[in-house]
């Protein structure tokens, strides 16, 4: 594994110039490598655009449809796909005023942001350690990061619950953040390790010469260069926490601590088969994830460029 890493590193002298490898330089590489090689026939262009339009339509349609349905306010109107009368924001105001949606939304935000900050930080330190330092247990750590992703976590909920209650972390945000870190961190550390591998080791050595500690080098020199990688990892951990259902259902027990995924369940039984409210809630739940996505999407490709390239 490490041999493969080394070979990839040396195979790309172009990377040595990545001193200010931020989103901008990622983009520069992007356009350079894709400059058109041969002139395309109009027919080929049409075929490409048609394929991409069809694919984009499939990608966007389910979400767009939920958004559209959420505006249908007449009783049972969701069951009439062709009926576009009575479009207004009634469902939204009902969700916001008649339910604890706002509280759950806030709770989800606390848990997700907490997970993002903690997961990115410890994944980055761990990823840096396995990228730069060859310590005994290095291989074991890499395997651990892969193996943990194989655990059928749903089956571990009961024993996990027992530990959490011994640590007095049931029904607390901190407990949920920790649990989410176990699902988010292995992939994040694994990916960041790959990203750090692409940052020239000369930078670390320069830091050492200037008298920085290893942590100082990591914190002041390497992390700023790893911004695209960090953006991907932040996005991934935020979504992991934002979208999780099973743990939140088991661990959060009082209404004021519910996250959206849990709260929504009470909501379904409360307004039996009232899909209108569900759709409105879904749209509002999707918004923060969408914002997060827009913030990082420019970095996604540059960040994964190197990150997913090896294991």
């Amino acid at each position: 594994m490490s041999a493969a890493t080394e070979s990839v590193q040396s195979a790309e002298p172009g990377r040595a110039g990545r001193a200010n490898a931020d989103a901008a330089s990622g983009k520069a590489r992007y356009s350079r490598s894709t400059a058109s090689r041969t002139r395309r026939s109009p027919l080929a262009s049409i075929a490409i655009h048609a394929t991409l339009i069809a694919a984009s339509f499939i990608a966007v349609f389910p979400i767009a449809w939920v958004a559209l349905t959420s505006l249908k306010t007449k009783d049972g109107q969701w069951a009439h796909p062709g009926d576009f009368s009575h479009l207004n924001f009634g469902n939204y105001s009902k969700v916001l005023s008649d339910t604890d949606f706002v509280t759950w939304f806030r709770n989800s935000l606390i848990v997700s942001l907490g997970t993002t900050v903690l997961a990115v930080f410890i994944a980055a330190t761990c990823g840096y350690a396995v990228s730069r330092m060859r310590f005994p247990g290095f291989r074991a750590t890499m395997w651990l990061l892969l193996v943990v992703q194989m655990f059928p976590i749903a089956v571990l909920i009961v024993p996990l619950y027992n530990i959490m209650s011994k640590l007095h972390l049931v029904n607390s945000f901190a407990g949920l953040v920790l649990v989410y870190c176990t699902t988010a961190v292995p992939y994040c550390a694994w990916m960041l390790k790959g990203y750090f591998d692409t940052i020239p080791i000369d930078i670390d050595e320069a830091g050492k010469v200037d008298g920085l500690s290893p942590f100082g080098t990591f914190w002041r020199l390497v992390l700023p260069l790893a911004r695209p990688g960090l953006a991907v990892v932040a996005f991934y951990s935020f979504l992991t926490a934002w979208a999780e259902v099973a743990f939140a259902n088991t661990f959060m027990q009082s209404t004021d601590k519910y996250t959206l995924a849990v709260g929504l369940r009470t909501f379904v039984s409360q307004f039996k088969s009232e899909w209108g409210l569900m759709t409105a809630a879904s749209v509002m739940i999707a918004i923060p994830a969408g914002v997060m996505f827009l913030l990082v999407q420019r970095n996604l490709v540059a960040g994964l460029t190197s990150g997913s390239a090896k294991g």
Partner: protein, 311 residues
């Protein structure tokens, strides 16, 4: 004395690496390792809801389950429990079909997006969107589409055909959950491949073109070999993730109709949490799932390493 000094020296040399990897390793060992060991122990007992030990008010009821050795595993592997082999077959089909479509569609779209075309940013944004949608919102969106009165059936009826009860019949339900998971999983693969495509030096394409290679030959001889490292990682992760993909099945069909869309993880979850809670049997399933993935990962990485040597 010398041993002590040796320990001391290696500590001085490596403590930074250990310290930086420690938070992750610690969290993993406590929150995944310990529950797993506990689960592995439970799998050799007959623990269920009635004998697990619990608190009623202030009274503590001690656990009263006993060891049954490998009985649970025998029960599963001999097919006596009546579900294992049918569920395993479907899990393998589910994993293979999903990963196949994730990779082919993801790769196809990545290659198209990697060309210099108009509106590339817009296409990319739309095509990555499903990734940003929380799982339970996506599941809900698709259930709305699959509903007896949903878009799909209205469209069928519009063309004079009969509607299908998508989630009520085994075959259509299986196709339905696969469609949802393919939809959700393609963006990650596409972005990974886009990243990988940019690491392929442009000079290779120019050289191939000079040699008169056709577009297909360039794809086969330059693009595919260049993507090998990415392909290896995403295949490995894709198989692991899909094999244990809990939320899509659980939220879209809950394993129904009659458990026919249950994969091993959701089946184990049902055993642990539905009706009489069979903790021991669920834990055995967990161990079996993990063992299969471990074997797969080891064999896969070995075979890839061998390929690398040959290449």
């Amino acid at each position: 004395m010398r041993v002590l000094r040796g320990v001391r020296r290696s500590f001085d040399k490596y403590w930074y690496g250990w310290a930086m990897a420690a938070p992750v390793v610690l969290v993993m060992l406590v929150l995944v390792g310990y529950p797993f060991v506990w689960g592995a122990y439970l799998s050799t007992t007959n623990a269920d809801e009635s004998n697990i030990g619990h608190d009623i008010g202030v009274n503590h009821i001690p656990p009263s389950y006993k060891s049954v050795g490998l009985h649970n595993y025998w029960d599963i592997l001999s097919g006596n429990d009546g579900h294992f082999y049918s569920t395993l077959t479907w899990t393998l089909i589910w994993t293979f079909v999903n990963v196949f479509f994730h990779i082919t569609i993801g790769l196809g779209l990545a290659v198209l997006l990697n060309r210099k075309i108009r509106f590339r940013g817009g296409y990319r944004l739309m095509l990555i969107l499903p990734w940003a949608v929380p799982g339970f919102v996506a599941a809900f969106a698709w259930r709305l589409l699959y509903n007896d009165n949903g878009v799909f059936n209205s469209t069928l009826k519009f063309f004079g055909m009969h509607g299908v009860q998508w989630l009520a019949q085994p075959t259509s339900a299986k196709i339905a959950v696969i469609a949802v998971n393919v939809w959700m999983g393609v963006p990650f693969m596409m972005v990974s491949f886009l990243g990988g495509l940019q690491t392929i030096p442009r000079e290779l394409y120019e050289a191939a073109e000079m040699d008169g290679a056709t577009a297909w030959q360039r794809f086969r001889m330059v693009t595919l070999p260049g993507l090998r490292p990415v392909m290896m990682t995403v295949t490995l992760l894709g198989v692991i993730w899909t094999f244990n993909k809990f939320d899509v099945i659980f939220l879209v069909t809950e394993g129904g109709p009659a458990g026919t869309t249950d994969i091993l993880v959701t089946h184990a979850y049902q055993i642990a949490f539905a009706n009489i809670r069979q903790y021991a049997e669920a834990a055995s399933y967990g161990v079996v799932i993990l063992s299969m993935l471990l074997v797969f990962a080891t064999v896969y990485r070995r075979s890839q390493a061998k390929l690398e040597v040959q290449a």
